[in-house]
Structure formats: C-alpha cells, structure tokens
Homo-oligomer: 327 residues x 2
C-alpha cells in the first residue's frame, strides 16, 4: 500500500518478480484495491493477496500509528514473517513505520542495541554500503561499531564483497578530524577485527575507497538526500545548458536518456531496497518513488538475503565485536 | 601560498582581479616564489608582494602550526588586516588554519560564540547560503541560531536576497524529525524574528526552498563533500555511458563541455570563496582546487563584503537574537 505510486507500481514490480523468478509473493493490503491493481495478472503467478483494513500514512508518527491501528499493512506483513508464513517484508511506504513494525514484531538480534537501515550506493567500483541512513538519529560510538559489524556480514554474504574495507564517515582523513562521536568511534573501530581503513569523507562514498561507510542515521540520511538533490539539480542544469545551444539541442535526446539512466542508478533501482539490519528477520525499505524495476530488484535482494544465511553470519560478527551497550 | 595549484593559479586570479576591477592586491607569501609566479605582470597593476618565510601546510594542525611558526602567510595576512593595511584575507590553503588565524588575530564579533564558514551553493533559483560547513563540528542549538543570524546579514547585504527564508537542515519536515540538537534548535528558530520556514532536507538545499540552510559544521561539511562526490561520479558515469554508443560518442564533445561547466558551478567558481562569518573582519576560504576564475570571483565577493557594511548589519542581527551563550 505504501509508496508514491502505490499500489500500481508496487504491484507491477511484484508481478515482474513472480514472473521472472517464481518468487512467491503475498501482497498485503486492502484486498479490493490490490486486486484491482493486479487486474487478473495473479492468475498464473505465485501471487496471493492478504487483506488488511488499514495502513500507516506517510506523514504519520510510526509508533503512534502502529499503536492506534491494529490492522496496518506493514504490521500485518511483519506478523506473517513472525508466524512463519512469509520470509521477508518489502515496503515502499513510511520507512520509520517499516523499521518500527520490524523491531516491534520480530525483535532485535542478540548484540544489537539499534537496528539500522543500510543503503546500497552504486559506484564505479561496485556497491558501497552506507549505514545508518535514518533509523537512529542520535548514536553512541558503540552503535556505529555494531552498524559496521552488521554491514560487514551483509556485504560479504549478500553482495559477495570479499573482506570489505570499512570507513568511518568524517570530515577529514586524520584521526583528529570529526566530531566527538566519530573520534571516539574511531578508537573502537581500530581496536576491532574489522578491516578498518580509517576516516573517509563525503566525496569518498562514491570513490570506492571503502565498501562500507559508517555514520549515524542523521548524517547518513542527509548524505543520501543531498545525493538525490545533486542528481536532480545536475539533470535540470544539463537540460537548461543543452537547450540553450544548437548542438546541445541536437544532443539532448541522447544525453537525456543517459541522464535518466544514471538518475535511476542513484535512486537505488539496481538493488531496489535498503535492508533493515539488526532485526530477527528480513525487511527491506524501498524508496517512495521506486519504479517497478526497483521493487522487482528489492524482491530479488530479499530472496538472496533469506537464502544466504546472512543472519547467522551477522550473529558471529556481532559477537566478535562484543557487548557494546555501554559504549 | 595555499591551494592545490598554488601559487600559479592563485596569482593568476589575483592578476585578473587587479586588471578587471583595479582592486588592490597584496600577495602574502615567499617573495621569490610569488615574484616568479607573477612573471613581471604586477608592473602596471595595483599588486604588491609582502614577504613571509613560512606557511601552514595542508596536513598540519592549524593551532599547532600557528603557534610554532611565527611568520606564516595566513597569519601575516590577517595581521595586515588588523593593522589596517588590508581589508580582507583570501586563502585557498588549509581552511582550518584560515579560520584559526582569523579568530586569533581579529577576534570574534560581539554576540558570536563560534565563527562559522558559510558556503554559497549555486542553484536554479539563485544562491543558497549553507552554514556551517566545517568550522564547528560539535554545536549547541544556540550556535545554530547565531549562524542563521550571521548568514541572514550576509545574504541580504552581499548577495542582495530580500528577506531570505531560513531552513534548518534535518531529515524530515516535521518538527519531531531530526536529532536532539536540531529539535531544540527548531524551538529557538521559531521564537526568533528570522523568516524561519521550518526543517529542510538534504535534497532541498538545491531546490530553492530556503535561501539559508543551517546545520552544524560536521553535517555541513559532509553535505558539501557529498555534493562534490556526486558531481564527480555523475561526470564519470556520463562519460562511460556516452562512450559506449555511437551517438553518445558523437555527442560527448558537447556534453563534456556542459558537464565541465556545471562541475565548476558546483565547485563554487561563481562566488569563488566561502566567507568566514563572525570574526571582526573579512576572510574568505577558497576551495583547494580553485581555478583562477574562482580566485578572481572571491576577490570580487570580498570587495563587496568590505564595501557593503555587512558587519554592522550582522551586529544588529546578532543583538536581535540576543545572548545565546548558554543555549
């Protein structure tokens, strides 16, 4: 039910995923609305509809909404996972509500104080996992190390990155740079067994210096939204500049297509969703403006997540960093 | 002496500024090195060279370097302002050292607990002042309101923006969103007489929702560096995509030029420098990779800054927000 173009685009992505990979899909939402969107396409596909009356709207406070409404699509979806009737939840709706419903229904993994949202950023040199991108706005240094441990398991098992390098997002490479949180976290990272390569800067996220970039959810969310803003602004500027000249006008057809392609890459279409790490199960947060392709790829990534045994690997990583609840 | 391409590019920018606007330039640095770079061009221009033996290198700790070396170019430059022999300092070198030398030599304005670095971000709808972009990594809510007051005076007087709208950088528009610092700052902003339009998100920096965007220096620096990283990545991706097709190859000549133009816009070439707000005088921090045009435009902006009486206006704004040292 969630997302800027729901349920149409979300249902289309689910139909595509079911057609391509025979993944079994349960569409959780208002039966009549979802069935209309399906328009008969579920007949030959492994798709079922699970009815629920309500949903968490975009502007709502997640916790309040989940407490007040007993039968929301996101709450029911995680309940299906808890009851063993589904393996993963994918949502393009209110990401705070997805996080809250995941934590409330499935609980946190052992050794995790704060579940986090990881975003997979496409770069020239392969995917980079940016964690946290919005789940935790005020973090202690120990939380950052837990994020790194969870992302390490995810990156190796689900993305196939061998021994990923871990960077701490700061404003200079030197250890003296950064705010208090980052300076203290750096010491914890150095003492850990992670492949820690030191501080990285905002520009390095896209340069492939590290495959895992760790920050608190406030900074990570700003970084992600700035990325979106720059991509949009550059697209507009290219359009304006090219419209102003004869040759520009001629070339716009070609560059326009290329720009749209690049923009979709930055919109996380390739991986589709941002995994919710640290809960006892698999949850995937999709961009509100997700395309059908993004939803399809999120289903693919979730299936990989479920089948990979990453949660066991994550438990190992978490016990390796130890109890950080006081740090 | 500072900057990735110093002294050549910096001297070129100074020569251009002196030629175009007859601004009097004092080049502070090692006389022999600077004179060589000038290559006789100062003869008919209002350019003089002020010798000093040392400089703060990029990797050095600003405070340590300024304490140890008595005769650095950045220290001497601010000293010339203090003695009334110059009106403004422009540097493409170590920005921490520029900030430290400015504060140590000229002191803070009354009502300013933390001087800050403002960056002027070019957008479709005109310039946006992002403050702070790196001077203060750990801020209290009251500091953010001072940043807003200083930026307000700068935006109205130096950039000619009428009653600029002020936004607080957060991760959602609702007041409940954001970290503790931002949630507390929001209350101060709402109680102030600023034209406060609420929280803005990272993507809104480039959308013209607000003309002043306020954040702490850690977050602002990450935002600025992410912007650089995305612009670089998009340039590389465009190049790669276009190289792969016949029409793309043909159009690359045109788009390449356009991309370089856009990239320079984002590299703050248009305004050249980021003003240092809150010190008793005018200081301008330039990007290390500044072009000669950026340096020239920084001189222009500094001259405007000096001639505009902005410091008086800033004092008024600061006294309007009152004593915030405890907040």
């Amino acid at each position: 039910m969630g997302g800027d173009n729901a349920p149409g685009v979300v249902v289309q992505g689910a139909v595509d995923a079911a057609s391509e990979s025979q993944t079994q899909i349960i569409l959780v939402g208002h039966e009549q609305v979802v069935t209309e969107a399906l328009d008969g396409r579920a007949a030959r596909l492994p798709i079922t509809v699970h009815h629920c009356e309500e949903m968490v709207e975009m502007g709502e406070s997640p916790l309040k909404a989940l407490r007040k409404k007993r039968d929301t699509s996101i709450g029911v979806a995680f309940d299906l996972v808890k009851k063993g009737k589904a393996d993963a939840v994918i949502s393009a709706g209110n990401s705070g509500a997805t996080l809250a419903a995941g934590v409330l229904t499935l609980g946190r993994m052992e050794g995790v104080d704060r579940p986090a949202i990881a975003s997979i950023v496409p770069t020239d040199t392969g995917p980079v996992v940016l964690i946290d991108v919005g789940a935790n706005v005020d973090c202690r240094p120990g939380h950052l190390l837990q994020f790194a441990a969870m992302a390490h398991a995810f990156a190796t098992v689900c993305l196939g990155i061998q021994d990923p390098k871990v960077g701490l997002l700061s404003i200079g490479e030197e250890g003296s740079k950064g705010n208090e949180q980052v300076r203290l976290a750096r010491e914890l990272f150095q003492a850990s067994r992670l492949n820690f390569m030191g501080n990285v800067e905002g520009r390095d996220i896209f340069g492939g210096k590290a495959q895992i970039v760790v920050c608190d959810g406030f900074v990570g969310n700003v970084a992600l939204k700035v990325t979106e803003g720059v991509v949009e602004a550059m697209t507009r500027m290219m359009d304006r500049e090219l419209s102003g000249s004869f040759w520009g006008h001629i070339t716009k057809a070609v560059t326009g297509k290329t720009l749209r392609q690049i923009r979709r890459e930055f919109d996380y279409e390739e991986y589709g969703g941002a995994p919710l790490l640290g809960i006892r199960g698999v949850g995937m947060v999709c961009h509100g403006g997700s395309s059908a392709k993004a939803i399809k790829n999120a289903v693919k990534l979730a299936a990989q997540y479920v089948n990979s045994g990453v949660l066991d690997k994550m438990s190992l990583q978490l016990s390796a960093v130890g109890d950080l609840s006081a740090l």
